[in-house]
Symmetry: C2
């Protein structure tokens, strides 16, 4: 059993940062809990989004003084001057970019995360065990082998960096961790479709390869990588003395929700000895849905898989994940600890391997608790249902758009992303028209789609992801577009 040595004298309030009155702080915490839960519950009643007034922004630092405003005043300022001006992603008519909506239970999980206040970089702690369990759960979900490794990240961008760092370590036939990339590294080439997310570019830049290491593969009419083109370009590069290194498959492209033929890419990757990385930021989680699971067939053959828990699983921001089939390559890219981090066989310095051996971070929070809590609380059926609902709402929205002669839609809608635009009339600038309509939808708080460019035109892009979104919300968004259009043309 544990013993704890009593202090010889215990000052009543030894710390300048502990509350002088714990019960006063408790009252504020309960008041905040009530207000914040209402904030989540009643979000639908308010505008999707509203801009923080410039004055509020300008005055944010004013209450920071030498003497401290106290918990009550700090909460009051937060409640009145910050809370109302979020991103909008809790609202069922938020359809911009790719954002999860969070859950009410997520409040409780985050509160507990703060109380544990763990640095999950390493050490023998329950927090580390929870993260390992979450990784095991993900590994099993995606059909990765038991020996595979993984780590939680802030999101798919960081997960991609980790996955490609492991790929670099695996592919280099010299000690790249010691020697760096050098002139040989300049010959590495990575293949990804033209619909691939910008995080691939950013990862290549950070890792020292530069943008030019990316070879873009054309897509077919549905936004999927053309495998014949992939094969051709890889052969071409090899003939020119370059080093074909890795290929990225998309499980859900950001613009259209297209899913590449992952099994087909895995075959080409095997033929050419390429590392197969899957960007599954949101689409990977179709694995949870018995209805749509087949759409990401082949994902289990990836060498590395990057995806987000905070998108289609609605874990509170931020929380992504990377799985790596080859644990040695993964550890090889990151391990190497100084003396003061030496592991021990027992005690707090045990518990190897540590997360800091699987990623660039030594300081990292306990986001695993949020994933664990959500999975335990809701179970996988409800999570799959939320995903299925999104796909259903997208089909409904697409059908509604097709009824409107003023609107043009990109076909097909493969998953949960619908792109359409108002057709310009004579003399109208179509891009400007659609941009103004989206901005007005946001400013009036009606709905919050985003925009994107597909071919020559700017499109209104609706990504259906919020678990609260109904078919009526989809209809109301189209109604909003038409309402604003009529106003503009009047």
């Amino acid at each position: 059993m544990k013993t704890s040595l009593p202090s010889r004298t215990m000052p009543r309030n030894a710390s300048p940062l502990d509350p002088s009155d714990w019960e006063d702080l408790r009252r504020h915490l309960h008041a905040a809990a009530d207000h914040l839960l209402d904030h989540v519950r009643d979000h639908r009643q308010g505008p999707v989004w509203q801009e923080m007034p410039q004055q509020f922004a300008d005055e944010l630092l004013d209450p920071i003084t030498r003497h401290g405003a106290g918990t009550g005043r700090a909460w009051e300022l937060l409640r009145e001057r910050i809370l109302p001006f979020g991103v909008g992603n809790l609202h069922p008519r938020f359809m911009g970019w790719v954002h999860g909506a969070g859950t009410a239970g997520g409040l409780l999980a985050s509160l507990a995360e703060a109380a544990v206040n763990a640095n999950v970089g390493g050490r023998n702690t329950g927090a580390l065990r929870v993260e390992r369990a979450v990784i095991d759960w993900a590994r099993d979900l995606f059909g990765f082998p038991v020996g595979a490794s993984g780590i939680l990240t802030s999101g798919t961008s960081m997960a991609t960096i980790v996955g490609l760092a492991a790929a670099r370590n695996a592919h280099a036939d010299w000690d790249v961790e010691e020697e760096g990339l050098g002139s040989e590294g300049a010959r590495f080439r990575l293949y990804a479709s033209e619909a691939t997310h910008g995080c691939i570019h950013k990862a290549l830049r950070l890792l020292g390869f530069g943008r030019r290491a990316l070879r873009t593969v054309p897509t077919d009419g549905q936004g999927r990588m053309r495998l014949d083109q992939l094969d051709r370009i890889v052969r071409e590069d090899r003939d020119q003395g370059l080093r074909p290194w890795a290929v990225v498959g998309n499980a859900g492209t950001v613009n259209r929700g297209a899913v590449d033929d992952l099994d087909g890419i895995a075959d080409v990757a095997a033929d050419h000895g390429l590392w197969f990385h899957v960007d599954g930021a949101f689409g990977a989680l179709l694995r949870l849905s018995p209805r749509y699971r087949h759409r990401v067939a082949g994902i289990e053959r990836a060498d590395s898989l990057a995806f987000d828990f905070h998108k289609w699983l609605h874990v509170t921001y931020d929380c992504g994940c990377v799985l790596v089939r080859d644990r040695d390559a993964h550890v090889g890219a990151f391990q190497g600890r100084p003396d003061y981090l030496e592991g021990h066989e027992a005690g707090l310095a045990a518990g190897e391997p540590w997360p800091c051996d699987y990623g660039p971070e030594l300081s990292r929070g306990f986001r695993a608790l949020r994933v664990w809590f959500l999975l335990v609380e809701h179970g996988t059926d409800a999570l799959a249902e939320a995903i299925d609902n999104s796909v259903d709402r997208a089909s409904h929205l697409a059908a509604r758009v097709d009824e409107e002669p003023a609107l043009e839609r990109i076909d097909p809608v493969e998953l949960n992303v619908v792109c359409f635009r108002v057709l310009p009339e004579d003399g109208e600038d179509g891009d400007e028209l659609n941009r103004v309509i989206v901005t007005e939808l946001q400013r009036r708080g009606i709905a919050a789609p985003s925009t994107t460019r597909l071919g020559p035109h700017l499109f209104i892009r609706c990504c259906l992801m919020n678990h609260r979104t109904t078919r009526d919300d989809a209809d109301a968004t189209v109604d909003g577009v038409l309402h604003i259009l009529r106003g503009l043309r009047r």
Copy 2:
């Protein structure tokens, strides 16, 4: 004013993830708030650390089922099977590694962060404004110019990667973002003292330079970089056709709390055209203390500064920061957005520049709220007092160690880190003896120092950082060491 289109029909419970009974969830949230606040308040009464039983670890995934256990059961499991097994850093006798202790008010801030649930990668939101305000506050604290840029990160490891990516962009006389490092990049050299943290190695590896890009500079008897040696090595490298690129100054080395002569390094950096990066993970925040501010003089001359809010400022994990003097180099290393992230002049897609232009992440949480809340709540005097107290407790601990003939201490104690060891008697293995004592201190829950290697020996390393630590806690730790030693020698 905003308008919000009413839904034509509103299903009673449209979402499979919203609670079927909000009041039931509210009760659990309040119960958790009470329990978790007590957990923080009463931490001193329990053991510093206890290991999660293997059975609990093995059973973590068992409650994840298809149907969901519900909020109440999930909370019960969290409370009983995870919460007691933290890192120990809330406890006043936790002295391992470099960990902040968090605050009670941090619970409220994290709860609010979860309710906002913002992705602060970009977009025109209050969350982004708060982060910008926090960066402005840090910029002013450290005497950086108004044009400097910055971003919050998970910690100093990530902040270092961002800072050195900016340094790479600034120093390369070719388009390194497009072309990558190539053979010219293989000639870059970075200088850092032998006491420098392992995150520098990890950053150089990730960025493609490899470990060999680091040239180690010897330290003096107090663990500070020898400037004559720095100057000599840089000249030597230049003569050999290498490219001296950057130098790292330490504001608080991890092993001993040594602070390099930052002004002196800045002079050498200016002479040789080096980028001057400061690793101020914990020591940078001495800037807040009127008593110890002079110890980090010269920090305002850094080209990039990495530090943590979750260490000596006790912001809830995780939260670090990087400031960069040359905004163009910073943006140059990261900017470049795809079409679907196109910024607009108004609405939700306005608000440029976006944080995703200043770092590798597109998904990133709202940690800025925790910093803002703490600064408003406590004010800077109380934060400085907590820092001063740590230095005071360390002096006290050092004096107490010096009274014990069985113990040997490394001198001087510059800040808040005390390293000492039990002197082995004939036939004892000194390293093993000290390792066992530290493990036993942790296992019995008495105190939690860590270990490190200084010269040939393993030392017990006490990093005094917790704002709750008293002089009595320092005494109790030494008493604990001697108590265990007596037991071992009996």
